[in-house]
Amino acid sequence: MGLLSQLKQKYKTLSIVGMAKNAGKTTALNYLIEEAMDDGVVLGITSTGRDGESIDLVTGTDKPKVFLDTGTIVSVPVKLYEMADAGLEILRMTKYPTALGEILLCRVAESGYVQIAGPVNTKDHQKMCIEMLELGAEIVLIDGAIDRKSIAAPDTSDAIILATGAVLSRSIKKVVEETAHIVGLYRLSVLEDGKTRDLILNNQDVEKIMLIKGEKIQILDLKTGLSAGRFLDEAIDDETEYVYIPGALTRSVIADIHPQKMKTVNFILKDPTKIFIDATPWQQLRKKGFNIQVLENIKVAALTVNPYAPAGYSFEHETLLKEMRNAMEDIPVIDVKMGGEFCETI
């Protein structure tokens, strides 16, 4: 049984997200599409922006079109419909707007190449994925953000497939370390249901930093901690149990907080994409007893590796695969470019 057939049992929508540009996101997508063809899985295919152009618009590197088999449900904007090489039966005309016209939901009637694109807005995207499932897709694959920094919060899909690779660094160790760091952040523990979570959720709309002391909540007139670390440090007192930060978490935010306070207080973030701290300083922080939880985390369903970097260097693909698998423990890792066979899932 292929990777996809396994994932399909757990998830209904999967985003494929690149750790960086050229980490092999499109290759990963094509790999899964081919698997679906072999296993007879009815796929829904969409993307968070325009995708499937023959050339990657950002870097100018080669980016193959998506070849889709009959039966696949796909989202295509009106202006790209006529350009599709595949025969597409129009099932539904949606109202989701894109720069290339409204999105059509189509069923592939004659297999061929298609340029796909999806709604720009996250809410529209969620609704459209549900429509695709209604139309018969067993699992929806979303060609997601080009690099993880622009990933749109966890609510885009049930889980993500993270594409990583040599493009991150010339050192295998570094590639593995950074990938593990990001996966670690995505899987940060979620603040459990209860009084504290309710307090935060009830006041979340104001988008301000909040301090929670027992049953009481104190809302600071600060949106992010950026350049306000000292105010934050002053506001935290002995009774403070939790600090909720709605915006970005960077090193400067916590730099001014007294080490003693850091140990006693729990920091809460909306989701892991709000963290902008690299692997090494993150490790140091954790060692100092920095506690952090999120309201929502991101499930990583699988990891794909690409041993080639556009800069011209590459890794021995089996070494990369092995190292990555060692670091990931329970997440399936596959080399999609070399077609390396898919082995373990626990």
Binding site: E34, D62, E82, M93, Y308, P310, G312, S314, K337
Partner: protein, 543 residues
């Protein structure tokens, strides 16, 4: 000649109400945009318009689900005017054909929904049968809202497609055989797409793979070489046939699209007529829903020139009050040709009553129901509301200058059966000349075949033959002791609200020459103006 200008439509509140009318289809929007007022002489047509409105009101009453179904159908209707135009000389695209089919399905559904009510609806709402065209666009007759150049459109196309799939399978079968052979022979494993990717850094391997006769370097970038199966003579032949087929299929598809477009054009007139009917239904239904939600009634249309309102509510003001959880105090007034003055307390709602008359008259003439208990309206040729605004100031005119300029426009434009609504004219200049001017204007207007309604603070204006005077009840019957007690502990915002609470906004017909109650000082005092000033003003008044 037009009925009114932009300012009158906005000041009376008509524009605001039009914005609240929720038409959903592009056809309904066009219908509303092209809406014209009914003029004197068109009473019968107006009554016909009201009859249609009543018809849909009773539909909504008897079959609320029908209304929901209609709204659902209206919700994602698309304008197809341009597509129909294009069908004359062009082959429509698949997306356009889908849109036409989609609309035809909606027309069918709409007819079914209306038929299910069992009501005998107006001709204007009944669509012309387009089933024949739907059958052409839906050869499978499964009535699904999907579209594709289906095999059923042409046997030839179906055969081409079938042949192409066979060829594809043959090619793939052939390739699979070679794949297995290569894999067995060289110990490498190709992807399902028969690719094999080699890193350029591995020069040895690249060299070895290049030697394999069955493979060819298909794609090469700066990092890797992608090898793929070389075509055999046999696959080459198959692929050539596929290419030929592709061309034939494209030609055939174009031919089908052309035929379908011609058929659509044959129906173009009917389609356009149906769109107009849908627009009429959508617009009238929206008006009916609005009337129901805002307790509006059908005004009685009469031939004599009158405006008679029983318990009227100005909807824009009412909306604000409802938002504040307060009740609107309805106002009644009867107007006929000649001059009627509204006098009375400050904050007594004189201007709102003036606007109410304008709103009821305007709504009636545009074919809407009116927010009253009952209303009787004779149509006007010209309606104008003269009310202070900031526009003249923006143009560099003083408020008096702007007012006079507009008054000139009114006098020039007025003709038989005019409705003139004038708010405190000449209040911005010295009272001696202001009074003289107002009196003289009243004298000019009272002998003309206009309904003139004028709000004023000058009592003596209302004195004279054939001038009717309506007074605001105001604080005449208010319990001043209670009021003062409440005012005492109120803050600024509450003070206004307390006065509003005790104010009686209703109008009553005052005897000729009856003195207007002087409430200005009282109200100024209640609003917190210093006693010193108020007392002094009283002394001046008495002297």
């Amino acid at each position: 000649m037009r009925l009114s200008n932009v300012k009158t439509r906005s000041e009376t509140g008509l524009d605001h109400i039009m914005h609240s009318i929720n038409v959903m289809t592009p056809f309904g929007k066009t219908r509303m945009k092209e809406m014209l007022p009914f003029m004197p002489g068109e009473e019968e047509r107006l009554n016909e318009e009201f009859r249609k409105l009543e018809e849909l009101l009773s539909l909504a009453e008897k079959n609320p689900q029908t209304v929901d179904l209609l709204i659902e159908l209206f919700m994602d209707m698309k304008d197809i005017g341009f597509t129909i135009d294009r069908s004359k000389n062009n082959a429509l695209t698949v997306v356009e054909l889908f849109e036409i089919k989609s609309l035809l399905l909606k027309m069918k559904k709409l007819t079914e929904v209306l038929e299910a009510t069992g009501m005998n609806l107006s001709e204007e709402f009944i669509l012309i049968d387009t089933l024949e065209l739907l059958d052409i666009l839906d050869p499978r007759k499964d009535r699904l809202n999907t579209f594709y150049i289906y095999d059923e459109f042409s046997e030839e196309l179906a055969n081409f497609r079938k042949r192409k799939r066979e060829l594809e399978l043959n090619v793939r079968r052939e390739q699979k055989v070679i794949k297995q052979k290569v894999e067995a022979q060289y110990g490498i494993s190709l992807t399902p797409k028969f690719d094999y990717v080699v890193s350029k850094s591995n020069k040895e391997l690249v060299k070895i793979i290049k030697e394999i006769p069955e493979l060819t370097a298909d794609d090469e970038d700066y990092l890797s070489v992608t090898f793929t199966l070389k075509n055999t003579d046999e696959t080459d032949l198959l692929i050539k046939e596929m290419d030929d087929l592709n061309e034939k299929m494209e030609d055939e598809e174009l031919k089908i699209r052309e035929t379908l477009s011609e058929e659509i054009f044959r129906f173009s007139e009917i389609l356009i007529k149906n769109c107009v009917k849908i627009g009429e239904l959508d617009f009238t239904l929206s008006k009916a829903i609005y009337a129901k939600q805002h307790q509006c009634v059908k005004p009685e249309i009469v031939t004599e020139h009158v405006v008679e309102i029983e318990d009227g509510r100005h909807l824009v003001v009412e909306e604000i009050l409802i938002a504040k959880n307060k009740q609107y105090c309805p106002v009644s007034i009867r107007l006929k040709d000649g001059v009627t003055c509204i006098t009375g307390a400050n904050m007594g709602g004189k201007t709102v009553s003036l606007k109410l008359v304008g709103l009821v008259a305007m709504l009636t003439q545009y074919g809407f129901f009116v927010p009253c208990k009952t209303a009787k309206v004779g149509l006007s040729n010209y309606i104008h509301i003269l009310i202070g605004d900031s526009q003249s100031v923006q143009r560099g005119l003083s408020s008096f200058g702007g007012e006079m300029e507009e008054l000139k426009e009114i006098l020039d434009q007025s003709r038989e059966r005019s409705l003139l609504l004038i708010d405190e004219i000449a209040s911005g200049t010295n009272p001696v000349e202001g009074l003289a001017l107002t009196k003289s204007l009243v004298t000019y207007l009272k002998i003309r075949p206009y309904i003139s309604l004028i709000t004023t603070h000058f009592d003596s204006v209302t004195v004279g033959e054939s001038i009717r005077n309506m007074q605001v009840m105001g604080l005449a019957h208010a319990d001043f002791l209670k009021l003062e007690r409440e005012i005492k502990y109120a803050n600024r915002k509450e003070r206004i609200e307390v006065i509003q609470k005790y104010m009686d906004y209703r109008l009553y017909s005052a005897e000729n020459g009856e003195e207007i109650p002087k409430d200005a000082l009282n109200i100024a005092k209640m609003l917190g103006i210093y006693d010193e000033i108020i007392e002094n003003a009283k002394i001046i008044l008495e002297s």
